[in-house]
Symmetry: D2
Subunit: 477 residues, 4 copies
């Protein structure tokens, strides 16, 4: 039962029974309210592996430094192993009166091994403990996110390879601007994900300092070895200031900010999926797996998964914003307000991981409609800028004047209800006598696309190069 439910049920009961909560013996009610607002176990039990792992590292160090005896230490270690097994197997009983995961583990340890359990908390406090656990949890999820983003990039590369030279309209203002290739379009998302992974990687590096041993806020007088615990838990080093170590939630904020930007990218792609699968665009057909049908209109595929991915940015970005608001103006060091941090991060990670997996699946399984894409590219005189550029490049006409000539050609084609490439040379020369046969080399969308060979351009040859480079980058990781 999660905290949400827990609160929810209190609320629901109140709604039914109204005075239930404030009736009865007053202090009982108070106890319930305090427990409901104070306990975090329904949220923070997700930290159990990290909490046990960190406790093991801590007690091993205490043994090494002779602060805890070998015998007590080994007893603690085996007790912790047993607790981890109990929680993983589902045998462990959670109890809201024990507030949080740290107290659950410690209380159960006392049950299992007795008195030596009391030595585990030497030279640490819940403040450094929770910061350590939480950093480890985020670090682990950064690694998982990095992997599923990499998987998604691979699928983008595969699809970009398949559609290297499939022509489609490039839009500005959702108006047809210039023809591009679908491969090029997909590679734009490859680049975004690359930056997303870079941000996660930077966040991981920056958070990778171990708070353990900062104790409540001031450090400790016990002769501990913080380098040893930091190393055991795969941190680069211990944090440099004990007060900062227990007050800091930068790592959660930076992580949420990075996820916000990643989810923004997915929301943009999701919006394109929704647009492209509308009957008006008809650029793609979604697979049954990532759309929902209608019993009444069997041909219909509602892009539900894409719509939900588009929506998730709301909650993920909301998490960053909420945690900032919670932390705003808090004096050092630890305040209870900070307990709210985990709910935001867990929710954002759940939303993010699901969004990435869903979008990966959508892209993997959709079918582009080659003809519809091509027809749309031909629409709207999308090669007009090619004509203007040709006038500049080949006939050496100044740019702004070339625009004027092109405008006249477009008007003519519109009047003739034909494409630019279907205007006769006579017609074109009636606008600008210097135009010659070579102009037809660039007037079709195919030729337009092929000509865009500047670095990063949409020409299939350049898209191939970009894919090649991307593959090499990924091999070198």
């Amino acid at each position: 039962m999660t905290k949400n439910n827990s609160n929810g049920e209190i609320a629901e009961n109140n709604t039914q029974g109204r005075t239930a909560l404030w009736g009865g013996r007053f202090s009982d009610t108070q106890a319930k309210i305090m427990q409901a607002i104070n306990a975090s176990i329904d949220v923070d039990k997700r930290l159990y592996k990290q909490d046990i792992q960190a406790s093991k590292a801590h007690v091993s160090m205490l043994m090494h430094m002779a602060i805890v005896s070998k015998k007590d230490g080994e007893s603690i270690l085996s007790g912790l192993t047993k607790i981890e097994e109990e929680i993983t197997s589902g045998a462990f009983v959670f109890d809201v009166t024990l507030e949080d995961i740290h107290m659950h583990v410690e209380a159960r340890l006392a049950e299992i091994i007795g008195d030596p359990a009391k030595r585990l908390h030497t030279a640490r406090s819940r403040n450094d403990q929770v910061a350590t656990d939480f950093k480890m949890w985020i670090r682990e999820h950064i690694d998982y996110l990095d992997q599923i983003l990499l998987d998604f990039q691979k699928t983008l590369l595969t699809k970009a390879t398949d559609f290297t030279d499939w022509i489609m309209p490039g839009f500005t203002h959702l108006q047809t601007a210039q023809p591009i290739t679908l491969g090029h379009h997909l590679m734009a998302y490859y680049e975004m994900i690359k930056r997303d992974r870079g941000r996660l990687s930077d966040c991981r590096k920056r958070l990778n300092e171990c708070p353990l041993g900062s104790a409540a806020l001031a450090g400790t007088g016990f002769p501990i070895d913080r380098d040893m615990t930091a190393k055991a838990l795969d941190f680069e080093k211990p944090t440099a200031n004990s007060l900062d170590a227990v007050s800091d939630r930068d790592f959660a904020l930076e992580f949420l900010a990075a996820l916000s930007i990643t989810s923004l990218h997915l929301s943009r792609l999701a919006d394109e999926i929704v647009l492209w699968s509308s009957p008006q665009f008809n650029f793609i057909t979604l697979s049954d797996h990532f759309s929902s049908g209608s019993s009444i209109m069997p041909q219909k595929r509602n892009p539900d998964a894409a719509e939900l991915v588009r929506a998730k940015v709301g909650r993920i970005a909301g998490g960053f914003n909420s945690l900032l608001m919670v932390m705003k103006g808090l004096p050092l060091a630890y305040s209870k307000d900070m307990q709210e941090d985990k709910a935001y991060v867990f929710q954002a990670v759940d939303d993010m991981e699901l969004s990435i997996l869903a979008m990966h699946g959508i892209i993997e399984t959709l079918s582009p409609n080659k003809n519809a894409l091509l027809d749309a590219a031909n629409n709207g005189f999308s090669t007009a800028t090619d004509l203007a550029d040709w006038l500049v490049r080949v006939l050496n006409i100044p740019f702004r004047q070339a625009h004027h000539i092109t405008g006249a050609a477009v008007k003519m084609a519109e009047k003739q209800k034909c494409l630019l490439k279907d205007l006769s040379l006579d017609m074109l020369q009636s606008i600008e006598p210097k135009i010659d046969e070579r102009v037809y080399d660039i007037l079709s969308v195919e030729k337009s696309v092929t000509s865009r060979i500047s670095y990063g351009g949409t020409a299939p040859s350049m898209v191939k190069k970009a894919i090649f480079t991307a593959k090499k980058e990924m091999e070198n990781e």
Copy 2:
């Protein structure tokens, strides 16, 4: 098991087993991802009472209009009653493949009563159904919130009565500004809650139009009576435009905005509680019920509950912001993105209800420290403005010049390390010869407070009047 957990577990498993989700038969994995992102049952099952109540009103109307036969209709009604009992008792089995609460109820109805179940969905769709259920749920919680806010106001009045003439410093910039009474301070929060309740009441009025019968988006050709269902469900009237009815989430947004402002008020009060219970202020002593102790420092009372109330505004305001972001730029009518709406509202309501109950408990059980409050009020020459006002009022000295004289008196008192009221008349006359004995009528904090009898002022006599008026207001509700 809530959605959070459900997603959470997928995520955790992935983290452990990494390729688990994308391994195995591909389409199985896809099905799981789609289900995980698409299903809302873990969230929207909280709507079950409303869903069943609305279905009953709908089928009763269909019977009345002879769209559904009496026999079928009665069969549906009794089936729905049975389902409600099953869910309330916990006997009902939820199944994530059935997506949402509407499908759960309908599927179970078919199991119980067979073919007639298929007639329930006549002349409605999930789009108008969910809008109706959700409005009813919010309406019910507005009523509950209104009641617990009223309860809180009553406690504020009781406490304001107890502390009508307890003198404390009024702060600006967290600097002592003028003496006020604790009763007056508490009455400021009474006013805030009054506006909060007004906003909720306005929100309730505005949302109280029934979407049922708007069907998918266009209305229906069945001869339904929307006034009848609206009335049966206690709505003021049916919504006026079917497209708007299924696209609109204003009611959720306005509700979340109102809660954001309420939670802001509680965050301000909570911050005061934290400040006031610090050893530096020592204005109040928290009860054991709403603080947490320290095994090591038995006298210590950490204001955990207040800190958590202060934090909750982060998530509640985040909910408004997130839902706005989700809805931003969505074309009409229904898009799946809108399914996210309920998670924000349920979470905000849980946080809000708990915050109000906790803050009510904190205020109810705290003990103000009369002497500490009075000492602090005497501190900082808090009656300096009284002196300046007296110079203006009694000696007819212009305001800005009165300021100058007062500044000199304060400097003198500072040098003498005494309060303003302890300066001798000789001393005061050395600054301004016109000052006479009467000045001592206003120099003590007690006299200062007593003198502030402008409407809404802090004088105990005015606070009593304000309490009297407030009580009458509440009686007239």
Copy 3:
């Protein structure tokens, strides 16, 4: 020069000269920084009319209560009139060392009338003064917003009248769902704006209590008449608690929340405008006035204005969120943080007013493409639900079974590449023998639309009724 500029310039200079700001005599630099962060005159000078009006009401009351002499009072009144003229005409010189609008007015008054100026600030402080001015400013802009929203509603009604029976597709998930009328679609926005105006009106009522006379925070000992000033400034009554009066910014928050929802509505309409003017949709042609062209593609109309309206919700909603964050956890009464309130509100009002005027202009001047709308409505078997409903209503087939039959008919039409209405009776009867000639009464989009006569439905007859009701509502305002 606005504050933005002012800060901006400091920043730019620093960037150029790097150490400029921290070089030189240290205390000079400090003075500049303090001034730059502290002064609000560049923002709050927009309150000048309100500030002068409130000062006039205040001094008139002071005269009436004999707290200020008739002679001094009249001198102050004429001085204030002169200052208002100076500011309105542009002759007034603003000076950043005078911090805010209140000090500007007071300093100038002293220049003009000498000593009596010093009596104006009797029995008030900047805290109640700014709250009063700001409420008056918002109130005035609510009235203006209400008017331009009403103007926009009128245009929506005119357009809905013009297009009462123009058929277009109604979308869910951006998939064609059911045919609707353009008139009905526009009336959905009429309803949204109606709620928007309701929220503004409620906000106006709630804020309409006058803080003036609350003084710094505690009220005053001067025998003032707060009812008199409240009445003179068109407030319903004075605020009931002096501490609340100077601490409260609910009115700004509630106003920003209301604007956020209004701007959300405009963002949804704007997104539809962008979609509808894409070549793929081609539902509308924008006027030159609210689009931007391309010298190279003269036929092109970029929906710039709509895109910008769509974007504005970002900053308006951001304003609400920012002000909440600023106010979060602030102890009573006034803190300097609250000075930031005006920048958010002024920006939001500017964005909002411009968005409404622009969207009004867009709607007023666009041309719907009747044939494109109709073709799109015919697309996608949009009358499938009509067929299913007909099977239920006329043949008494249960709803879910009717869905099955309809699915078969849609598949057949898809195979035949025809519309549902073009299937022969034989074909339809091969699926369900009970189907008869009457079915053709509902299979065309025209007949579908005409049939939706439930209250709030899309039938032209119902849209006409809705327009009629709306006009009556507006007449009664």
Copy 4:
């Protein structure tokens, strides 16, 4: 005149004259509204240096590649130099009909050099141009921010050196927890700023790819050399995908997220400043430079600057949130919505730079009150955990049992109204007989602080080491 003003004035006029804007010739009004919403010159003129610098690099490359003749190119270069001088000197006339900075420069160039001006826009578009300019502007401000943050760190180090062993209470929940040193406290902020600078540095690296040459969205057919322009403008390399290059605003978002976290840190420090300068805390005395006084209470120092720094996080974080909302769900490539990006970034940079400079000044000039800090540290039995740790460390009593003994000692001291260190050995032994003389080595706050020598701990010896390390880090930059 900035955009704010411009809009503001329209709005104000409307409010006065009501129908002014919609009166008159309709198309005139429309033109004004469109211009007001569409023009960005009041905002983006701050990009003028970057725009001209990028144009120069572009035309130099065009000359090098023989796309533009040497003669024309040099004419363009000298024209651009002249324009920069005009703008810098203030001689340049801005005109709202020319929309944005790019058009202003180009139009002026045509005036100055005539026809060759038309060749400047070859092989680029406004889309890649604005992305390039904006990245350069942000990069420059990152460098400036890095410098003023470094300056601030230096001051923190100086102050931490001054106050290495000044004892003060360390708080959790704003309750006295353990004694720490003021030097240690200040070093916590040093660490935060260090991470802040790290985030800015990572952001700078990631954004440092040059969009120029991506043209409208598809790249270009001109034989341009993007490496050459990238190098000339100090970018690491050209962007890899032309579509991404013009659609991407990650750099602005990541920058705003980094600033949000920095401003959060300053808000926490600012809140401490406000608290510490309250009469209740009295930990510090602010300098006149960064506080505001009261004519009436000359001793008073309102911490206005700190309050404003605390507030700024609202707008800075709001900027991130707003831009995310603007970008949410935007299909590729460029949409006009994105024009709003600069307003958020410019505002955030202005707020951020000012906040850093103000906070630097506050810290530089404040005076801590040594005795008040020490007294507060002695308050609240802050060495209770030292006693518990001593019982564990020296007497080998289990941790939880040591807590129990300590609790008894604290109760005894409370009863005796003395500090822990003032309890006699007899008294202590009455609680736990094994306690001996050595206990007094840790019971005073001085000894407590001195004992915290774990890495990162608060002992003056450790703070000195931390300062030494920090200085070395900064030397190596």
